[in-house]
Amino acid sequence: MGRYLVQRVFYMVITLFLITSLTFFLMKIIPGTPFASANKLSPAQMEIMKAKYGLDEPVPVQYAKYIGNVVTGDFGISFQFSNRPVSELIVKRMGPSAQLGFQAMFIGTIIGIFLGVIAALRQNTWVDYGATFLAVLGKAVPSFVFAGLLQYFVGVKLGLLPVLFWKGFEYTILPTIALAIFPIAITARFMRTEMIDVLSSDYITLAKAKGASYFEIAFKHALRNALIPVITVLGPLFVSLMTGSLVIEKIFAIPGIGEQFVTSITLNDYPVIMGTTILYAALFVVIILIVDILYGIIDPRIRVSGGKK
């Protein structure tokens, strides 16, 4: 295991390096400049501005410099927010996104597992269809619709919760619900199918024969085995929830990193694009590693580390 981990970390660094490099070059091919009033600038001015930010150098040189800076922990300064170091910006914006992502993930998984398990235990009854209906609706209706309706009816019409902004826990409730819809749907659906699968296994029949209760069967025996596809899907989903959602952050006026990232791409804010990409990719490869390790813990027969055949 130890050797496997070392090997994986080594691969992780290479993966990150490749993602960073490819993104850097692709990003440079996108037309346009990071300068907001580019269409008003004279050629002479353009020269001056490019020189100031080192954009007049050949791309490979810019790349080498960037990688050099990143290694020393310097991610550059944002164009759209003058004066703001990218690292500071990301740290600040990451907070709300991560909190929301975490909350959504938490309640999403719980509700999802619950819905999935009931659906499986009451297979092909109205309970099952109802749970499926709920889960699928969460996916078939786009999140901006759901978020917009929540905001209007719960926030404006009923006045139960704050309509928008990010000023305390009660402000997180509506966006969390809107964000949790997807994890609920996906967990519920995978839980159902895996549970049904597991429930027909011999060892569950044995457990039933031994007189174990439904509850015990569901949560002690079946759940564990149903978790493999669920964590496979939830791992990457967790990363994307943590790194924010453009739609939810925009609708609820949350200063998160998701909205920030999309804006930075449309504005060619190179340092922010790169910084966020590196963060996202790093989180992603770490989560993938964790998921791979979890496979072995959940089902000891699985050996991701491979080795002998």
Binding site: Y11, T15, L16, L18, I19, L22, T23, L26, M27, I29, I30, P31, Q123, N124, D128, Y129, T132, A135, V136, L137, K139, A140, V141, P142, F144, V145, G148, Y152, A185, I186, R189, F190, R192, T193, E194, I196, D197, S200, S201, I228, P229, T232, V233, P236, V262, I265, I273, T277, Y280, A281, F284, V285, I288, Y295, D299, R301, I302, V304, G306, K309
Partner: protein
């Protein structure tokens, strides 16, 4: 606690060696068997019928409306739904009546002296929403089909190979998908706009880049789990080829997750198409899809709710029936659930 069983219940078994090999149920192949079991599932059958109706409407709808999906008539814009025969039933939303801000009902049809019936109303440009919704359903179904295909072909094979062979192959294949996911999708898509013309081909390419990765990861995880099971070991011991093991033993057991995952890929693809067309890579106006109709309708939700609700109902119906159908299919295909 002794229990007595009356003697009469016992009878002599007649052992006829000639009949021991007889099959007393009709012989069914895999698919016949599956169909038999789907039929027993009420939810699946109802879903099948509704789904079939929606699909038929997608092709028949634009014809029977008597209107073109791209004909604009600005004087008829933003009309509410009105259907012959249903228009006098005021609790149905098809009476051609709107409520103004003061809470009073009024009929834009009468106000503007419009004779035509727009069954689902009209949009901001006065185009018939009924025709546009079904036309859009066609396109969205096509997108769904393509997305499912990409998922099935690339995703399943990639995942199965990666999981089955494991070790170094798995390691490299997984790192490749990490790189694909790691590069921001938006950047890739913007670059594609520079190279490609908007259209179905561009959408397919954009979906092919990363659309299948989720599927491949799920399949890989299942294969990792299943390949250690006894029957795989048995098959391997019997000297079966890798291809046969993957195809014959692993894939049928993967049906559940594959189907479920496809059902998630489809709506993602439908909305991704709306995003692509917004950004300039997908289908351009006047063509519409359910995704773009919902996008556009949402902006005027409070003023003209039908413009979003109708396509949203269609897409939800499609997704719910597909999922219930998929559940039925999954149960039917599951080798463990045969009776």
């Amino acid at each position: 606690m002794e229990r007595k069983i009356p003697k009469e219940l016992f009878g002599q078994a007649i052992i006829d060696s000639s009949k021991s090999e007889e099959i007393n149920k009709p012989s069914l192949n895999f698919w016949q068997d599956a169909w038999l079991r789907v039929r027993k599932n009420k939810g699946a059958i109802v879903s099948l019928i509704i789904a079939a109706l929606v699909i038929i409407m997608a092709f028949v709808g634009p014809v029977i409306s008597g209107k073109e999906f791209d004909t604009q008539k600005v004087s008829h814009n933003n009309l509410p739904p009105r259907i012959q025969g249903l228009e006098n039933i005021s609790w149905l939303p098809f009476d051609g009546v709107k409520v103004n801000k003061a809470g009073k009902e009024f009929s834009p049809y009468e106000q503007r002296k419009v004779e035509e019936y727009y069954w689902f109303g009209t949009d901001a440009l006065g185009r018939d929403i009924f025709t546009r919704v079904w036309k859009g359903t066609q396109i969205s179904l096509l997108i769904a089909l393509l997305a499912a295909l990409i998922d099935m072909v690339i995703g399943v094979i990639y995942g199965a190979v990666s999981g089955y062979f494991g070790g170094r192959i798995d390691n490299i294949m997984q790192r490749i998908t990490e790189i694909l996911i790691g590069i921001p999708y938006l950047i890739v898509v913007i670059l594609m706009i520079l190279l490609l013309k908007p259209g179905i081909a561009s959408i397919v390419i954009a979906m092919t880049i990363t659309g299948w990765v989720g599927m491949s990861r799920v399949v890989r995880a299942q294969v990792l789990k299943l390949k250690e099971q006894e029957y795989v070991l048995a098959s391997r011991t019997l000297g079966n080829s890798h291809l046969k093991i993957i195809g014959k033993h692993l894939l049928p057991n993967l049906a559940g997750v594959i189907i479920i995952n496809t059902m998630f890929t489809i709506p993602s693809a439908i909305f991704n198409e709306a995003f692509l067309s917004f950004i300039g890579l997908g289908l351009q106006d006047p063509l519409a899809s359910l995704g773009t109709l919902i996008d556009e309708g949402f902006k005027v939700l409070r003023l003209h709710p039908y413009q979003m609700i109708i396509p949203a109902i269609v897409i939800s119906t499609i997704m719910i029936t597909f999922n219930l159908l998929a559940d039925g299919l999954r149960d039917a295909l599951d080798p463990k659930m045969r009776d």
